[in-house]
C-alpha cells in the first residue's frame, strides 16, 4: 500500500495541485483555491471548537450536579436539589449520545422556538456537554464520598456553613482526587464530538466522509483524521496531567503512587 500524500496539496475545486501546500498552513501564502489540507485544518478547528465548548459546559454542570447529589439532608430545598441532580444524571446518561444530538437538533427546537436561531454547533455542544456532565457528576460525587466523614464533621464543628464547608474543605480535596477519571472523560468528549457530523457541523468526521468520496484516497484521508483525533485527545491528556501535578498536595493524594508515571 503506497500512500499518496500529495492528495492533501490538491485543490478541492478541480483536483489540481495548489501553489502553497504547507505554507498556507503557516500563513506564508494564500491559495487561490483551498486545498484538502486547508479544509482538513478547518475541520480540525471545528472539532476543537465543538469539543472545547462541550467541555466547558460539561465541567461546570458536572461539578455543580455532582456536588448537589451529595448535599446533606437539612430541609426541603436540599432534598429537592438532591432529587433534581439525580434526575439530571439519570436522564442524560441513559440516552445514547447520537440520539441526544438528534433530540437537540430536530426535536427540542420545534418546541422551544428561540433554539432554532442557534447555530448547529451550539446545539451539538450543548448535547455533548449535558451528556458528559452526567458522567462527570458521578465522578465528582465519587470523589466527595470517598473523603472520610470526619472532614465534613470537622468543617461543621468549625462553624462553617454547608456552602463554606464545600468551598473550603470538601471540594478542594474531592476535585483533586478525581482528576484522573476526569482526564479520560475529557478525552472521551473529543472523540464523541465526531457525532457532530450527523447534524451538519463540518468537522473531521464529515471531512473524512466527504473528502474520501471526492479523492478516492480514503486511506490517506482517514489516517490524517485519525492522527488529528489522537493528537487532540493526547493534548488534553497532557494538559490534565500538568494540572494534576501543579495542584498536588504533598502528603495527601498521589503520595504513595506517582500518578505521573502511571500513564
Amino acid at each position: 500500500m503506497a500512500l499518496d500524500l500529495n492528495i492533501f496539496c490538491k485543490s478541492t475545486l478541480d483536483g489540481e495541485e495548489v501553489d502553497h501546500c504547507f505554507s498556507s498552513l503557516l500563513g506564508l501564502g494564500q491559495n487561490a483555491d483551498p486545498s484538502y489540507l486547508d479544509w482538513l485544518m478547518k475541520a480540525w478547528g471545528w472539532t476543537l471548537a465543538v469539543a472545547g465548548l462541550g467541555l466547558a459546559i460539561a465541567l461546570v454542570l458536572g461539578a455543580v450536579m455532582g456536588t448537589l447529589r451529595t448535599l446533606p439532608d437539612n430541609g426541603p430545598m436540599s432534598r429537592f436539589l438532591v432529587r433534581f441532580s439525580t434526575a439530571w444524571v439519570e436522564l442524560f446518561r441513559n440516552i445514547p449520545i447520537l440520539v441526544q444530538v438528534f433530540l437537540w437538533y430536530h426535536v427540542i427546537p420545534s418546541f422551544i422556538l428561540p433554539l432554532k436561531a442557534l447555530p448547529s454547533y451550539w446545539l451539538v455542544s450543548i448535547a455533548l456537554g449535558f451528556f458528559t456532565s452526567a458522567r462527570m457528576a458521578e465522578q465528582v460525587r465519587a470523589g466527595i464520598q470517598s473523603l472520610p466523614s470526619g472532614q465534613r464533621a470537622a468543617a461543621t464543628a468549625l462553624g462553617l456553613t454547608t456552602a463554606q464547608s464545600y468551598r473550603y474543605v470538601i471540594l478542594p480535596m474531592a476535585l483533586r482526587i478525581i482528576i484522573p477519571p476526569l482526564t479520560s472523560e475529557s478525552m472521551n468528549l473529543i472523540k464523541n464530538s465526531s457525532v457532530a457530523f450527523a447534524v451538519s457541523v463540518p468537522e473531521l468526521t464529515l471531512f473524512a466522509m466527504q473528502a474520501q468520496e471526492e479523492t478516492s484516497h480514503g486511506v490517506e484521508i482517514y489516517l490524517a483524521v485519525t492522527l488529528l483525533y489522537a493528537l487532540s485527545a493526547f493534548a488534553v491528556n497532557r494538559v490534565m496531567n500538568l494540572i494534576e501535578k501543579k495542584t498536588r498536595i504533598p502528603g495527601f493524594i498521589g503520595a504513595s503512587s506517582d500518578a505521573g508515571l502511571a500513564h
Binding site: L13, D33, F197, S200, L206, Q212
Partner: protein, 304 residues
Amino acid sequence: MKRQNLMKTSLVAVGLLLGTLNVQAASQTLDKIKSTSTVTMGVRESSIPMSYTTGDSRFDGYHVEICRMILADIKDKLGVNTLRINYQPVTSQNRVPLVQNGTVDIECGTTTNNTARAKDVGFANTLYVEEVRIAVKANSGITSISQLAGKKVATTTGTTSVQLLRKHEKANGVNFEEVYGKDHADSFLLLESGRADAFVMDGSILAGNIANSKNPKDYKIVGEVLSTEPIAIMVRKDDPEFKVAVNDAIAKIVKNGNMPKLWNKWFLSPIPPKNIVVGLELSPATKNAWANLNDKPAEDYNKK
C-alpha cells in the same frame, strides 16, 4: 519536490507489481460463475427507484432488474443450468473497494462513472443519465439557483453534489450556507423542517424523496440542470472479458426495446413496497445514452 518524486516512483513501482500479478486466467468472473453457479450482485438499501430493498432482504429497482436480465443472458451464454444470485448491500463508501477485491461481481446501484473511479473499477455502458437538480418547497418562490445566493442549501455528505456546489460558488462568486445531511432522508428532513431552503441532489433521489414525503404536493423540483452524470453498472477493472459480456447483454436488452418499458415500470408507475410513484420523466440525456451506448465518464458530459 524531491519527496514528491520519490512518492511517484514508489507508486509506479507498486503499480508495476500489481500489473504483473493481474496476468491470470482470461475471465475470473465468468470462470467463477461457471464453476460455482453463483454470482454476487452489489445493491443499495434505499436508492429508490434505482436499487433498494423491498423488505426481507429482497432487492429490486431499475438497475437491479437490468442486472438480473444481464445475468440471465450470461447464464445462457455459459450454459449454466441455474444461477444463484447473492445480494450484497453496499454503501457509497465501500462499493468501490468491494468490487475491487472481488466480494461483489457486479454492482447495480447508483454509481457515477467518473475518471477518478475508472482508475479503480470498470463501468458498463450507461443506461441512466442523472441530472443534478434543486428541490424546494412549492410555496418558496425559488425557481433558479441564482435565487439561492446567501440561502441555506442542503446536500448529503459523501456525494458529488457537495463539490458541485463548491465549484458553483467559486465560478459565480456567490455564497451558499451549506448544511449537510448524513443521508438523503436526513437532507430531505432539513428541507422539510425549514433548516434548509433547498436540497441539491440527483433528480431521481429528489423525486423519490418527494414521492415518499407526507405531502408530495408541498415540494417541487425546479431550476436548471446543475450537472449531468452517467450512472452505470460497475464491474471489476481487471476482467475486460466479463465487461464485454455485460455490454453485449445490455445491447441485446436495448435492441429488444425493453428500456422504455423498464422506465415506465420504475419511474412512472407505482413501485413496491409502498406503491409510490416516483414520477420522473425520461430525460433526453438518458434517451440519448440508450441510442448511443457508451461508457463515457461524467467529465465528458459536462464539457461545455
